[in-house]
């Protein structure tokens, strides 16, 4: 589904990713953990080319997105992304946030987009907020709308960049619950998070990153109970 080969990224002279190799299978949930500044966000953002790739390859369903001839907008339609700070469109209602891309990018009829939007709002438990503006929602509600917005494009892959890090503690659960539900439905996902309980429960595989490298990857049980590398141990001892 996703194949990352020797991915490298430099900002100016600062090397942030030092050659990442990952394969994500269909329906797999990969959780990425690691200290702040280790390159987790950059890695995720390279997967849908929100960052330009310095070297290496990223293949989404066999399409090499680093190839100049591939249509990146088409690829992005298939890859949904959820951000730490939600990034909802504040000038649009919840429903408009959700239907904007299906209407303008996919060109589907308004009626159909709205009924799909309503279905998604039910799924994230916010059907009564369709006509509200983002500013009137709590953080947890905003993030659930952001998830619904990404799902409206019917992506094959979902990327989550610390989806609960900007939330008050009491709202973390409601967002994780939605992501868990997606996992149960078989969505292919890459999730960057500091929620170790979530990683253990939902992840098929956990990747530990540090210094722009994948230090260790394994089943959640193995990583958490039996980490092989010193750096993994040091990190886990701090967060667990």
């Amino acid at each position: 589904m996703i194949k990352v080969e020797n991915l490298q990224k430099t900002f100016g002279s600062h090397k942030v990713l030092n050659g990442i190799n990952v394969v994500v299978q269909p329906q797999e949930v990969v959780v990425v953990i690691g200290p702040s500044g280790s390159g987790k966000s950059t890695f995720l953002r390279c997967i849908n080319l929100l960052e330009t790739i310095t070297d290496g390859h990223v293949l989404i369903e066999e399409v090499d997105i680093t190839d100049k001839s591939s249509n990146i907008n088409k690829v992005r339609e298939e890859v949904g992304m959820v951000f730490q700070h939600f990034n909802l469109f504040p000038h649009k209602t919840v429903m408009e946030n959700i239907t904007l891309a299906p209407l303008k990018v996919r060109g589907i009829p308004e009626q159909q987009a709205r009924s799909k939007g309503m279905e998604l709002l039910k799924k994230v438990g916010l059907e009564d907020k369709a006509e509200a503006y983002p500013d009137s929602l709590s953080g947890g509600q905003k993030q659930r709308v952001a998830i619904a917005r990404a799902l409206a494009m019917e992506p094959k892959i979902m990327l989550f960049d610390e989806p609960t890090s900007a939330l008050d503690p009491e709202m973390v659960g409601e967002v994780l619950e939605v992501i868990k539900q997606l996992a149960r439905e078989g969505m292919t996902m890459v999730v960057v998070t500091h929620e170790m309980g979530f990683a253990r429960e939902v992840g098929d595989r956990v990747i530990f990153m540090d210094g722009g490298l994948i230090i260790e990857e394994n089943k959640p049980r193995e990583i958490f109970e039996n980490p092989q590398h010193e750096r993994t141990k040091a990190f886990l001892s701090k967060v667990l």
Partner: protein, 218 residues
């Protein structure tokens, strides 16, 4: 002090025509300047430095030299080159538009750049093209923030259109100076002109306030 209202009454037909011309010049400057300003602002924001260069210099020139000088250059230099003779109204519209465009370009740029980067990223991650993201996500938000500074610029433009008098464009100030010259009086012509400008600028502020409030509650 005697205040000669009869002078003002005598000149009122000209002052009315002058006011209409001032409104016309200002509107033309605002409209052309805004369109041109958007274009120049986007030009300046281009990633490729070399392509942005002409726009940067355009803004530097028109913000860095007096409008007075620009009007003279355009009236006696540019317009005759274009149409073979001088024409005060054409020169004033060109000068006001080009000058306002430089300021408006900066207003657009600042407005667009004030929108959080995450908005563009969210739009792009949903598969929108850069143009779609600009049109549906960035510009509508930026536009709201641009209204106060744009309003300011429009008010400046109305006032600066008075410089057109020096190239014999018959707007408010031109008639004010004619009156002053004919009667050797100061207060009547210039106070009258000041009050007319004040009415114009206050009306515009009022309209902009309504627009701003309406957009806020939307």
């Amino acid at each position: 002090m005697d205040f000669r209202f009869d002078m003002i009454i005598e000149y009122s037909p000209y002052l009315i025509k002058g006011t209409l011309l001032t409104i016309g010049l200002s509107l033309a400057g605002i409209l052309i300047g805004t369109v041109l300003g958007l274009f120049i602002g986007l030009g300046k924001m281009q990633r490729r430095r070399l392509l942005a260069w002409p726009f940067v210099w355009y803004i530097t020139f028109f913000r860095g030299t007096p409008l007075f000088v620009q009007i003279l250059l355009i009236h006696f230099g540019v317009v005759p080159m274009l149409i073979g003779q001088t024409n005060g109204i054409v020169a004033t519209i060109i000068a006001l538009s080009l000058n306002a465009a430089a300021y408006i370009a900066e207003i657009f740029r600042a407005g667009i750049q004030s929108i959080d980067r995450g908005q563009m990223e969210a739009a792009r991650s949903l598969g929108m093209t850069h143009v779609q993201a600009m049109r549906y996500v960035i510009l509508p938000q930026a536009f709201k923030r641009m209204i106060p500074p744009l309003g300011n610029e429009f008010i400046v433009l109305i006032k600066e259109s008075s410089l057109a008098a020096i190239v014999a464009t018959p707007e408010i100030m031109y008639w004010g100076r004619v009156m002053a010259g004919k009667y050797y009086r100061v207060w009547e012509p210039y106070l009258t002109a000041a009050i007319i400008y004040l009415i114009l600028t206050i009306s515009l502020s009022f309209l902009l306030n309504i627009l701003e409030r309406r957009l806020k509650t939307e």
